[in-house]
């Protein structure tokens, strides 16, 4: 079980590196789909079965399809790299690594690996999530539905051809 988490984590990190390294947008999108599916597996290991399936259906199966459609329709080709300053390249990687190390140190000191035994895992079934969603969180739910409506209208208006 724990081995599975490390395999999924390694897969996710490799795919994320691929997302930022690939020049062709389609390959970046495909790598991002791999990241999403690896994360869905990690959610399953954490007992969040409903969120795992929702991640695949909504994120990997709908949002990324939107990305792939737009990439195909706009005929996004390979990215060209213009002359960039050498200083930025030689400073960039160490600074990013320093930033990451800082976050990891903060996390590690706050949540040491040998903590007390955690409470029992919550019930991640659709019934439990639905109950919580429609009782305690019904206001954010309704607001989000209005948000999606506004987003759909905005997207249609922005992308329409002016005729």
């Amino acid at each position: 079980m724990t081995v599975l988490f490390y395999i999924c984590a390694a897969l996710a990190i490799l795919a994320a590196l691929n997302v930022i390294r690939q020049r062709t947008p389609v390959y970046s999108a495909l790598s991002l789909i791999v990241v999403l599916c690896a994360l869905a597996l990690v959610y399953l290991l954490l007992g969040a079965e409903f969120m795992a399936v929702i991640q695949v259906i909504v994120y990997a199966g709908a949002i990324m399809v939107l990305f792939v459609f737009v990439i195909m329709l706009l005929n996004a080709g390979k990215e060209t790299s213009r002359q960039r300053s050498r200083l930025a390249r030689w400073l960039g990687v160490p600074l990013v690594t320093a930033f990451l190390a800082e976050i990891l140190i903060a996390v590690w000191s706050q949540f040491p690996p040998v903590a007390a035994s955690p409470p029992p895992p919550p019930d991640g079934s659709p019934a439990a999530i639905g109950t919580l969603l429609f009782r305690s969180y019904v206001l954010p739910f309704e607001v989000t539905s209005i948000l999606i409506l506004v987003a759909v209208l905005g997207a249609v208006v922005l992308a329409k051809k002016e005729s």
């Binding site: 389609v26 079965e49 399936v53 929702i54 199966g61 399809v65 459609f69 195909m72 659709p126």
Partner: protein
């Protein structure tokens, strides 16, 4: 079984089930192509294949050999990675959803409880929808990677159609889920055992969801036919419209993979239709222990066969939808109808359970 650990025994059982199901499914798909050609031919007052083997029964074997021997042509400007990825992705996903489909009841064998299902997942139905959602990529990438007009248009139309009908597909089964109270496919079928009772009177009508959710079934089956790109919704791959649609530039084994994954999707959809609306493997069961185990599987296969025959029958009979008719049908008719179905079902359940 005392010498092996429990995990090993479990893994061996699952491996045997997977092998069994794969072999059965691949043979079934091969003979589904034969059945389709025969039935469509007879509808069109001709004979169909009858030269290769008696009644053309060896035709799928001949087709298989042809596919393997054919020259594999790859367009010059095609995008290598996605060109190779698309058919294999579609193939893998088409067979992945079979993993949660239950074929029959559970039985005990030498002290082990074995279910006639590769694995029972709590959110089995959502798992099938997740795999279906990912199947859109195979079509879209196939069309884009071929670097040619007809495949691109066919792929875009086909994937737009698939994602539009996924919505009504999901809404149609919400009524069934509300009645069964669970997302596990085995649980949904178990909720359909027995007979319908009016008050205390036993009408000898099986407790199948089709009698309670006729509208849901209509929406589900129409959306499923559109989802699998079959007639009357097969404009994106009709020969007279777009040459070959998204698989124009594919040949031999990769084309065969698209073909197989289309039929495997048909089988999955028919299996889901029987599980959700027609009681799965419930049917008259009698006789000795061996028959008790095999008869439910037989009833399940018989019901799935009826749906596949209906698919082929529609292909031989119905004309195609035009693309704009197709999209407006999905968005402006099926989607509101699905919402209406959820509303009516929830009202009925609330009234039924009111104190």
């Amino acid at each position: 079984m005392g010498t092996f650990s429990e995990t090993t025994v479990l893994l061996v059982i699952v491996a045997v089930k997977i092998a069994f199901v794969l072999v059965f499914l691949l043979t079934a798909i091969a003979y589904l192509t034969w059945l389709e050609r025969k039935v469509v031919a007879h509808i069109q007052a001709r004979w169909g294949p009858y030269l290769v083997g008696p009644h053309g029964l060896l035709q799928p074997v001949a087709d298989g050999i042809k596919f393997i021997m054919k020259e594999d042509i790859v367009p010059l400007e095609a995008d290598r990675v996605t060109y190779w990825l698309a058919p294999f992705l579609g193939f893998v996903l088409a067979f992945l959803s079979i993993a949660v489909i239950p074929f029959g009841g559970s039985f005990t064998f030498r002290g082990l409880r074995i279910q006639a299902q590769i694995t029972d997942v709590n959110v089995g139905l959502l798992f099938v929808f997740a795999v279906t959602s990912l199947g859109v990529y195979s079509v879209a990438l196939a069309g884009w990677s071929s670097n040619s007009k007809y495949p691109l248009f066919g792929a875009l139309r086909s994937s737009a159609q698939m994602i539009s009908y996924e919505l009504s597909l999901g809404l149609a089964v919400v009524g069934v889920i509300m009645m069964a109270g669970t997302l596990s496919l085995r649980g949904i079928v178990d909720a359909q055992s027995g007979f319908w009772h009016i008050g205390r009177v036993n009408t000898w009508l099986p407790h199948w969801n089709i009698f309670a959710q006729p509208l849901g079934f209509f929406i589900y089956f129409t959306s499923a036919v559109a989802e699998t790109n079959r007639v009357p919704f097969d404009l994106p791959e009709g020969e007279t419209e777009l040459v070959g649609g998204f698989h124009t530039e594919y040949s031999s084994m990769k084309f065969a993979m698209f073909f197989i994954s289309e039929y495997a999707n048909m089988v999955t959809v028919s299996c889901l239709a029987t599980l959700l609306f027609f009681g799965g493997w419930h049917g008259p069961v009698f006789g000795p222990a061996l028959l008790q185990v095999l008869l439910p599987v037989f009833w399940f296969c018989a019901k799935v066969f009826c749906f596949l025959f209906f698919y082929i029958w529609m292909r031989g009979t119905l004309p195609r939808f035009r693309y704009d008719q197709l999209m407006s049908f999905g968005w402006k008719f099926l989607l509101p109808l699905g919402l209406l179905n959820i509303l009516l079902t929830s009202l009925a359940i609330a009234w039924h359970e009111a104190p």
